[in-house]
Amino acid sequence: MNFEELVQEAKKEYYSIFQGELPAILIGSATCGISAGANEITKVIEDEITRENIEARIIPVGCIGSCYAEPIIGIFKGKKEGVLYGPVNKNLAKKIIKENIMEDKTVKENILGTIHVNEAGTGGSFFESDFMRLQSRQILRRCGLINPEDINHYLATGGYTGLLKALEMGADEIINTIKKSGLRGRGGAGFPTWLKWNLCRQSNSQEKYIICNADEGDPGAFMNRSLLEGDPHSVLEGILIGAHTIKAKKAYIYCRAEYPAALKKLKKAMKDLEKIGLLNTEIVIKKGAGAFVCGEETALMASIEGRRGMPRTRPPFPTTKGLWGKPTVINNVETFAAISLIFQEGVEQFSSMGTESSKGTKTFSLVGDIKRTGLIEVPLGTTLKEVIFDIGGGIKNGENLKAVQIGGPSGGCLPASMIDTEIDYDSLTSAGAIMGSGGLVVLSDNSCMVEIARYFLEFTQRESCGKCVPCRLGTQQMLLILNDIVQGNGNPEDIETLHEVAETVKAASLCGLGQTAPNPVLTTLKYFMEEYVEHIMDKRCPAAYCRELMHYFIDKERCTGCMACLKACPNNAIVGVENEPHFIDQVKCLKCGSCMDVCREGAILKVPGPG
């Protein structure tokens, strides 16, 4: 079969899911879905289908983005639009099988919207919902709508046409195309991709390498994982286009070992690709071993070579001296997916989105104190406000927005007053944060900004490889100070010292880890100085978060004396008799919050100050 015929077959098969006679059940089975119980739901559905003797197709798909509503299932029956439900529990799953599949009635519970999928594209009320309206799913366009382990689904939706186009082009034309697209690297620094490829291509060597950086080390981000789990071929296609352009001898994918599902899907995708004869460069998967610094390009290469993953000074840059001293291109997962997007759908479509200096879209993992969390994709230039309030639906439980943490341990915290900031490389950098790879954590009044800075510093301090002194000692010193402050042992001079150390570490560290590690401290000092002052001078945590600087308190007016908290307390710190207000022995209190969890009267409060 030639490629055209393959695609025709694939289309017939794929689109029949959404138009065919046989009912189809799409189940979100990425890590987010599974952790919310997708496997149990799948089991229930399978059992129901067997019991009722229904003929139906069950199709495991990736994450459609609405992680807040997992487990999600989509029901497609006949020519009607499909219905997306979520969250779905076992009972709802049974009901959906009975009513939607057997009786052809839509169940009016937990509907996320309708969806239709055909050759002309996708649509439906789901894409008009508040969560989706401002998004533009380009990179993620297939996630949640294809079976990532079925290459036919990829081929049916334009897959590998980008590679075939690129194979017809010379390297110059490819690089020019990427230059025209305006694509900048999605791994954090935003380096122009065309320039990187061009530098490597011009390096004089018979032996070159290309690496896909799938080490995703930000402890609160999962964009790359979702993409690899939902549409692995789109990343492989980008890698192959790159390998062809720079004439790479071999390609490597360096993927976190903690991503077993992504690894499995990549392996399956590579096998299928080989079967259809398009795997024209050897691709080797290397598993990371849990070191954040290995996301840094030179450390990553040391790790592939089997050494301790320590960064080295640049220059020489990897494009001249990379893996085993040979010219190497290294790009992020999403950068490669953007490459296949550009070659499949055309340069104009890509560059029509975004701002002057930041083209295209960017994916973010949107988490924290927000109503709708999930994996989102927006055109660059979208404001933080639109992301938080329109897409995310605003802050949970009627609380107020305090800050947005963007860019993880290398990024910064921007205050609520800055939410009109546009998300693009330059606006974020000038605000003191960074785009990073896409972690976006929304923080409400209940978060302590000093503690957030401490958390990230604890992370970078632990992950510092120790090679250079400013990073190793500087992060340690900052962490000690911050530990003191949150424990109520801060001194007025600490703020000055923090500033000084932060600036030194930023200026004198060898690699990006050290250079960016002070960002969480510097931005919180800049925007939330009063919180530092309150911790240090008044020994109270205004958000009542830091354990030593807050206490739990029972409101006598509300306490009915039900004894629930008394029983729940692991340290017998609550005293009282039935039907009379209880009180907390502050000396014994472990501040675990168990009492607050069980109190039905809302009588237990968190109060700033040590009590």
């Binding site: 903690e258 290397k286 301790r308 988490v367």
Partner: protein
């Protein structure tokens, strides 16, 4: 030993194989046994010291066996904001071990990791690969029952 030989022989023994071999050994035994590292050193010709240097650099590797129930607490950003500190504290107090350790009866071991992928249901822990989300400190006792 049989199992170890099999792992070693599936590689050529080049330097770049060391990390994948260590990963396979850990997968097989749940940790890196001392004599396995000795054998690896012989097989690759890389000194034991250097192999330790590599293994200790990467957080993934453990030098103590896991417990029957391996408890992983997510300390990723979303879970941290939602109080994963209290969860770890409670588990440490309950099992009387520190993060990274195994109980003397080998029933439980405890590990803290970055995001495990269910931030929207934070805070979460994993007990032998099964995720328990929106966990509260008071659930710990019931989730991790102790024999005595």
């Amino acid at each position: 030993m049989q199992r170890l030989r099999k792992i070693l022989e599936s590689y050529q023994g080049k330097r770049e194989d060391i990390i994948p071999v260590l990963q396979d050994i850990q997968k097989e035994y749940g940790y890196l046994p001392e004599n396995a590292l000795k054998e690896l050193s012989k097989y690759t010709g890389v000194s034991e010291g250097q192999i330790y240097g590599i293994a200790t650099f990467y957080a993934q590797f453990r030098f103590k066996p896991k417990g029957g129930k391996h408890v992983i607490v997510c300390t990723g950003t979303a879970c941290h904001v939602k109080g994963s500190d209290q969860i770890i504290d409670t588990i440490q107090r309950h099992l009387k071990i520190k993060e990274g350790d195994t109980t003397p009866d080998h029933e439980y071991s405890l590990e803290a990791v970055g995001c495990i992928g269910c931030c929207s249901l934070a805070p979460c822990i994993m007990i032998n690969e099964k995720v328990i989300s929106k966990i509260k400190p008071r659930q710990i006792k019931r989730l991790l029952p102790q024999k005595s």
